[in-house]
């Protein structure tokens, strides 16, 4: 194995390929690294393989070829302690805040799910769910997560349908950060939202990135959001990475013709 030139990646796709049964490959020979503190955007249009790559990085699907690495170790569903560490370290936010929250659970329960499933916060030393005082500790973590995303703690007692789209996305982000992950994988986190809400969620993600040292990985076709949030950008076309590098240079002076077309297509406001 060749040592990486950049600081060691938390999460990496190493020459991964993926094909759905009986179909042309959705991904071919894709390598991306998530380096701590360097937010990454995966840019591309529908059918480019963004969502497939995200599912691989979330450990939901196994690549047909290549490897997905977490802290340099290959993901293996049978290695339970590795998977637990991985689940705790990498959390998702989805596009549609109406589909991503269980309508029958109260917000407090939704946000607490990663804690319950991961058995957090673990009582000192002992593994498994905390026996006593565990409930209070969970409630405290949930309250803190809700505050961090700009929602009142009382939100915990209400149901998702009582909230607007933007607030629901905040709840989904609270669930993702409640177990203090290192990486947030966001799949088009703002594209279902109105423009003003979109700006506020982008600001929130930027704030979380800066204050909690979260590394944001965002899949998006919205170049403005990518430019606002991510330092590094990889451009996907037809399941391959055609260009990657610093966002400023990839989007500012695109080298590949597809990237140029993508950048040229973004509708802009009239100049002042």
């Amino acid at each position: 194995m060749t040592p990486p030139a950049t600081p060691p990646a938390v999460l990496a796709a190493d020459r991964v390929g993926f094909a759905y049964r009986g179909a042309a490959p959705a991904l071919a020979d894709v390598s991306v690294s998530v380096v701590p503190g360097r937010s990454l955007a995966l840019v591309g249009e529908s059918g480019a393989g963004k969502t497939t790559l995200l599912r691989l990085l979330l450990g939901l699907t196994r690549p047909s070829t290549g490897r997905v690495l977490f802290d340099g170790r290959e993901l293996a569903t049978r290695d339970r302690s590795l998977m637990r560490e991985f689940r705790r370290g990498v959390q998702p936010v989805f596009q549609d805040p109406y589909s991503s929250l269980d309508p029958r659970q109260r917000v407090g329960r939704i946000v607490a799910e990663p804690l319950r499933s991961l058995g957090l916060p673990a009582s000192s030393g002992a593994a498994g769910p905390a026996p006593r005082g565990g409930k209070a500790a969970v409630a405290e973590r949930v309250g803190a997560a809700l505050r961090a995303v700009g929602l009142p703690e009382e939100a915990a007692g209400r149901y998702p349908h009582e909230f607007s789209g933007g607030q629901r996305q905040r709840i989904a982000i609270a669930r993702a950060i409640v177990c203090e992950p290192r990486v947030l994988l966001a799949d088009e986190p703002v594209s279902a939202l109105d423009v003003s809400t979109r700006v506020r969620i982008v600001d929130l993600l930027a704030e979380l990135r800066d204050t909690y040292g979260l590394t944001v990985v965002m899949v998006s076709h919205d170049l403005a959001v990518v430019a606002a949030l991510c330092r590094h950008t990889a451009v996907l076309e037809h399941g391959r990475i055609v260009e990657q590098g610093d966002t400023a240079s990839v989007l500012g002076s695109p080298a590949h013709s597809y990237t140029r077309r993508l950048v040229g297509s973004v509708p802009r406001l009239p100049r002042l």
Binding site: E45, S46, V195, R198, V199, D222, S265, R268, L269
Partner: protein
């Protein structure tokens, strides 16, 4: 006399809540107007009210007058379904956000497109087939014969939206209403479809009512905009003026949000 005159339009839900309140604007023949607002602002309801397509239970008040040369002045609100049907298509048609639901999934694209052509121009047989082909070519579809034989799910989202536009144009409307026509599309496809709409509206001298939540998109295709918030028209004027100097606080925040995202793209390489 304007082609479309909306005066004091009010739309109320079945439970009495007012969803559109006292909205007025006019569109002249060949003019382009943008309706901009976020979800729940009443922009789509306004479009449906113009077409007389509001869901059952909703009540409409105020005036919607379509004045089309050759069809005369018609008050849409309260018009019988039969008269409305005669008006839809020739006076105004809509292109919706999601072309997949706007097309019949079980009918080949060519047949769906043939229907308005037959009705509007009385074409039959070979002449009708030629017209379908011409209509598909007009919306810059590269393989008109293959598309005509395909079912809606067999073509891409961008191609479907082009087919929907071709169907709208087949009626030769005086006013084209486009309700978020590119929101469901990819960026590059959106750019192509916007350019297509722009060119077609110019060629045919149609008026365009373009509805969107995206200020940048609206400014790319229209000259004037009306800003809607919670069913109220808070501001209207030339796109350039509104983007440069928004007067109403809501418009100011809307422009600021759009500006914030837009400026992120001003990257120094």
């Amino acid at each position: 006399m304007s082609l479309l005159e909306v005066t004091g339009l009010r739309v109320a839900a079945a439970d009495g809540r007012e969803l559109v309140r006292d909205v007025s604007f006019a569109v002249d023949a060949g003019e382009r107007l943008g309706l901009i607002g976020e979800s729940g602002s009443g922009k789509s309801l306004t479009a449906l009210a113009i077409m007389g397509l509001l869901p059952a239970g909703m009540t409409v008040a105020g005036g919607v007058v379509l004045d089309v040369p050759g069809l005369g002045r018609t008050e849409v609100a309260g018009l019988a379904e039969q008269r409305l049907n005669a008006l839809r298509g020739r006076a105004a048609t809509v292109v919706f956000q999601e072309p997949l639901t706007a097309l019949d999934p079980l009918m080949r694209v060519g047949r769906q497109l043939a229907e308005p052509l037959r009705r509007r121009r009385g074409l039959r047989g070979a002449a009708l087939r030629a017209a379908v082909r011409a209509a598909l070519t007009e919306v810059r579809l590269a393989e008109p014969d293959r598309i005509a034989k395909a079912f809606p799910h067999q073509i891409s989202g961008g191609q479907r939206q082009r087919v929907a536009i071709a169907m709208a144009l087949a009626c030769e409307p005086a006013l084209l209403i486009a309700d978020e026509p590119t929101t469901a599309l990819d960026v590059t496809v959106q750019a192509d479809v916007l350019a297509l709409l722009d060119a077609l509206v110019r060629e045919k001298g149609m008026a365009l009512l373009f509805i969107s939540h995206d200020l940048a998109v609206v400014s790319a295709v229209t000259d004037r905009v009306v800003v809607l918030k919670d069913g109220v028209a808070v501001e209207s004027g030339a796109v350039a003026d509104i983007v440069r100097a928004p007067a109403h606080p809501y418009t100011r925040s809307l422009v600021a949000s759009a500006r914030e995202l837009d400026s992120a793209l001003d990257l120094a390489p």
